[in-house]
């Protein structure tokens, strides 16, 4: 059982106050334990946690480049195997490194079946470089490269279904979770690191700076994503979706209205047409994963 009191991410890191990913890092290592080696991609978490020489990591940690973390982890795993060592090999990468630039390396590592746990902290844009869209950015979110404007409602594409892509690689265990449900994160990470083979976990990590909300509300935002059906927590075990978290769904406006990245949908007047499209995404999620609680 995971030791929930274990603190393997040190104080003094430079994340924004109320940072979702910083919270996620603590939870991940509570689940994975101290016999872990973390491979990190370039990204917000890397930058806030490791300006030389002030590392916040109390476990072995290595960063090479933005897009090669899964390949670096493949090498670490192969070396451990050769040396007869038993540490868990983790990748902790943002959605830019995971959904976009790192796909080649991730696909290769998963196809080869390395015994690694790849964790994506999904804050739905390139936050490190100033909030540019990624393949994980939700429909209609305004980012600096998908800005809302006179002729745009923001990002024109829905989120890429990364968990299914990795499940399709034959990953024995794929899971989504949210920092809004900390124990679920810890449990899923603990499960993944103890499964042989490449596992994938995608953690929803609201970003107060990138999404535009107050840092005290990071967990509230995470909950709203789940409660509106715009984010679904589930597991894919050997290719089958299991245990999608059921909710009594709220309208998506409740989630959208409190974030600056969706502010253009409410100003100067409520854009019912666009909000309906987002509601349709939530409805489709609900249908697909069967998350609606029946009364």
């Amino acid at each position: 059982m995971a030791d929930r009191t274990l603190e393997l991410v040190d104080c003094g890191h430079r994340a924004c106050g109320g940072c979702g990913p910083a919270f996620a890092a603590r939870l991940i290592l509570k689940g994975a334990g101290e016999r872990s080696i973390v491979c990190a991609s370039t990204g917000c978490m890397e930058v806030f946690s490791t300006p030389y020489p002030q590392t916040a990591w109390k476990v072995p940690w290595v960063h090479s480049l933005f897009q090669n973390t899964a390949a670096v982890a493949s090498g670490v795993e192969a070396a451990l195997k050769r040396q007869g060592r038993d540490e868990h090999v983790l990748c902790i990468c943002g959605d830019g490194a995971t959904f976009d630039i790192g796909v080649l390396c991730i696909s290769g590592a998963f196809e080869r079946g390395h015994n690694i746990t790849y964790i994506c902290y999904d804050n739905e844009a390139y936050m490190n470089t100033g909030i540019q869209r990624s393949g994980a950015t939700p429909f209609d979110a305004s980012t600096t490269t998908s800005p809302a404007g006179k002729k745009s409602f923001g990002n024109t594409r829905p989120k890429k279904d990364m968990p299914q892509i990795l499940a399709a690689h034959g990953a024995p265990y794929v899971a989504t979770c949210s920092i809004a449900y900390p124990n679920d994160v810890i449990k899923k990470v603990e499960r993944a690191v103890n499964i042989d083979g490449p596992c994938y976990i995608q953690i929803h990590t609201p970003c107060c700076t990138g999404w535009g909300f107050d840092g005290s509300k990071t967990i509230e935002l995470g909950k709203l994503a789940i409660e509106t059906g715009l984010w679904v927590n589930y597991e894919i075990v050997n290719g089958k979706v299991e245990k999608a978290k059921k909710v009594k769904r709220k309208p998506v406006e409740d989630y959208l209205r409190v974030q600056k990245r969706f502010a253009h949908l409410f100003k100067p007047s409520v854009n019912a047409e666009e909000i309906a499209k987002i509601q349709a995404i939530a409805d489709a999620n609900a249908e697909k994963y069967g998350i609606d609680l029946k009364f």
Binding site: D10, G12, R14, D214, I219
Partner: protein
């Protein structure tokens, strides 16, 4: 201090960076109202809330004053006060 080869460093050194100086609002913990549920400790993105004999307190050297603990406290035992400078 000599550089460690390959831009490597041992743990513990982030603590040299006292992020408490970032704080504008300061969480005040009301121990009478507190139910010792540990939620504040769990959710703190800094991991800077410590408990001793079931009494929870932030390490003000590192607390950035984000207010997440106060927002999530089920007993409403934490209030955010303006930092007096």
């Amino acid at each position: 201090m000599a550089l460690r080869i390959g831009c490597a460093a041992a743990p513990g050194q982030a603590r040299e960076n006292k992020t408490g100086s970032w704080r504008v609002f300061r969480p005040e913990f009301d121990h009478d109202t507190c139910t010792s549920c540990g939620m504040c400790q769990l959710v703190c993105p800094e991991g800077c809330i410590r408990s001793e004999n079931n009494e929870f307190n932030p390490d003000y050297d590192f607390c950035k004053g984000c207010g997440l603990c106060a927002h999530e406290c089920p007993a409403k035992a934490i209030t955010m006060e303006t930092e007096e400078k």
